[in-house]
Amino acid sequence: MSVEQVPVPRTNGQTHRAGYDEETRARLSADAAAIKARYPQERSALLPMLHLVQSEDGYVSPRGIAFCAAELGLTTAEVSAVATFYTQYKRHPNGTYTVGVCTNTLCAIMGGDAIWEELSDHLGIGHDETTDDGAITLERVECNAACDYAPVVMVNWEFFDNQTPDSAVALADELTAGHPVTPTRGAHSVCTFKEMSRVLAGFGDGRADEGIGAGGPTLAGTVLAREQGWVAPPFPADAEASTKTPARGTRTTKAPAASHAPKPGGEQSSAERPATTPGDVSPARRTTKKQSDDAKES
């Protein structure tokens, strides 16, 4: 199903035109040229260009799809195929703020489900729906890599940590009222969906130095190590300067100093062919049970 066929009723003012006016198109083309210049091959520019389209139209509009297709020499079907694969590309006009409640397992159990219920009832909308005033699009989001701050709410992909139903409702009310809100870890205030999309297209907004470097849980280990005087082993060059006791680690036997990984080839060419099965690397991995974690391998 193409974007054009999505049966979303459009109100006046949201009706798309056939394309951008000349001035807008020239501006977007200049941006697209800057994006394309980052890559050895132009097609790589498509994802950032879709963010760029969202920064202009607030969603991946039909004219935005046509623009990307024309810029990259693709068909609109090819662009739509990509746009519909990724959840951050919105297929109908997004609110000024995307409010995402993490309801993946850990956040859900720590209270994310309760936050979701409260917010959904309070705003009167469900997943991927937008309030009538266009302020908030509500989403259930998947794990956003802040589990140590659970339950987490994201507003335009800025972190609002350790939320409760009450704090989340208060946050939504501020957004509805048009007041600036401050993330726990992020810029001083949350920008709009369009402004955010422009940053994700690779155009900085000069706000990187705002906010903190790390929240409390991020620093839990660092703080504890300072309290206990725990340090990693000093670098050999620094060893004489160190007086603290380094972490001993847990290894019980010392590896031979001259242990070498296999080098079946010359410099930068250690194998005649790449490993094609785990067994190429280690006989111990020729197990019957398929290793299932190389999805995240890297």
């Binding site: 955010m196 900085g204 280990g221 190590a225 725990w230 082993p233 972490a247 299932s292 391998e297």
Partner: protein, 446 residues
């Protein structure tokens, strides 16, 4: 003496404006790059091989060996792509690292690029972390301005450009070949292997794909040497790693320790399970790793020991759940995640995750049948090892392991809803009164 923490990457995180190049340099940053540039590239590869560093993104594949798989230079481009698409449920280490000290990653990328003969490197960061994107963009700009990137870096004659690339919301793009397709402007679906990225990766050129923490660990190895790194950890799981504690624990957060530390030791550091409760189950490395229980508190968290105990070290994402938690509810929600994130390329995963979710949803609602447990196991058997990539395999891990340890809870799902057996308000970190049953909440993506 018990294992202690070993702050290496985290040692910088509490400094003032820790994310800036100035702070990084003031604390010893870019010594590794200077040393690397004074050595032949092959020596840097050897050093990382000798350190025993293994991929910190989950699979634990030796990093230096991965670099060594690149074919001999043929005059064409070779690429480094950093996998910063951290999305495995429970995993929350790379995002705070890039927020607090992105220069660790940038320096590691420059050293790695030098080692493998790459002149254009990429960071693929998930699109759902706006401020991390800002910090990375700024850190790359700062590195260019300081002469660490661009032409003739530090007078060495080595050239490197780094491109920051935002994803757009797709867990599958953490799979390295799906990531490459996504970076090429396609739907993020995994590629058939072989050829592996080392031979035909980005734009069909030799490519190394490494996790953020792996690359960020490289500068320290180059400064300290392989033997320094090997002082930490176990014989086969060397070095330091970020252990991310979350859930029903008194002080959740990031704890950087030698590999081989145990959950019991980490829980002691983190103040234990939340007051008045006991540990019920936990994941050693994200939701795709089979769950553990209290009987595994003393399993050394290294690749070999966790594997021998029936799970995988994964990303060291330790999600802790106490005795108030319904394992059926937890597993059902994870399964809905895999269903939502399945890319649709292969049938076992695309269809299988949908069936798994349906069966689990009725068990969570207390409307399961007596055959459902066997049905789940049969479905898992038809996915594990038969899916195109590891997403499908990972989807089966929580189910089969949870049935192994908590079969009676699944049996109870034939007559009693999970939220009756385990009222969700007892698990949450704040007091509230539920308005709907979990059965209604389940399956929102259906």
């Amino acid at each position: 003496m018990a294992t202690t923490l070993a702050p290496v990457l985290t040692d910088l995180w509490d400094k003032d404006r820790s994310w800036t190049l100035a702070t990084y340099e003031d604390n010893g940053g870019y010594r590794g790059l200077r040393r690397a540039l004074s050595l032949p590239a092959g020596d840097v590869v050897t050093m990382v091989k000798d350190s025993g560093l293994r991929g910190r993104g989950g699979a634990g594949f030796p990093t230096g060996m991965k670099w060594g798989f690149l074919p001999a230079p043929d005059g064409g481009p070779r690429y480094l792509v950093v996998n910063a698409d951290e999305s495995e449920p429970g995993t929350c280490k790379d995002i705070p690292l890039m927020l607090a000290s992105p220069q660790h990653l940038i320096e590691g990328m420059i050293i790695t690029s030098y080692a493998i003969g790459c002149h254009h490197a990429f960071v693929y960061v998930r699109g759902e972390v706006l401020h991390v994107y800002r910090r990375l963009l700024k850190s790359i700009e700062e590195a260019y301005a300081a002469g660490y990137l661009g032409k003739n870096i530090l007078g060495s004659g080595f050239d490197l450009d780094i491109t920051l690339h935002s994803g757009a919301g797709a867990y599958i793009c953490g799979e390295e070949t799906a990531l490459l397709d996504s970076l090429e402007g396609l739907r993020g679906q995994p590629r058939l292997k072989p050829p592996f990225p080392a031979v035909a990766g980005l734009y069909a050129r030799p490519t190394v794909v490494n996790n953020v923490e792996s690359i960020a660990s490289v500068p320290g190895i180059v400064v300290g040497g392989a033997d320094w790194f090997k002082q930490m950890g176990t014989e086969k799981s060397t070095g330091h790693g970020l252990f991310s504690l979350s859930g029903h624990v008194t002080r959740p957060g990031q704890y950087e320790a030698p590999l081989g530390i145990t959950l019991r030791e980490l829980l002691d550091m983190a103040g234990g399970i939340r007051e008045g409760h006991e540990l019920k189950f936990w994941t050693p490395g994200g939701s795709s790793t089979p769950i553990f229980t209290a009987e595994h508190l003393d399993v050394p968290l290294d690749y070999e020991s966790v594997g021998a105990a029936g799970s995988m070290l994964g990303t060291r994402a330790l999600q802790i759940f106490d005795d108030t938690t319904s394992v059926v509810r937890a597993v059902t929600r994870w399964t809905e995640f895999y269903k939502h994130e399945s890319c649709g390329k292969c049938t076992p995963c695309r269809e299988g995750t949908y069936w798994l979710a349906q069966v689990l949803q009725r068990l969570e609602a207390g409307r399961g049948t007596s055959a459902d447990i066997d049905l789940l196991l049969d479905l898992c058997d038809n996915i594990l090892g038969r899916a195109f990539c590891a997403l499908g395999d990972g989807a089966t891990s929580p189910i089969t392991s949870a049935i192994q340890y908590f079969r009676e809870e699944f049996e109870a799902g034939t007559h009693t809803p999970a939220d009756v057996l385990f009222p969700p308000e007892r698990s949450s970190l704040f007091a509230y009164t539920p308005r709907r049953s979990g059965a209604q909440l389940a399956g929102v993506h259906a």
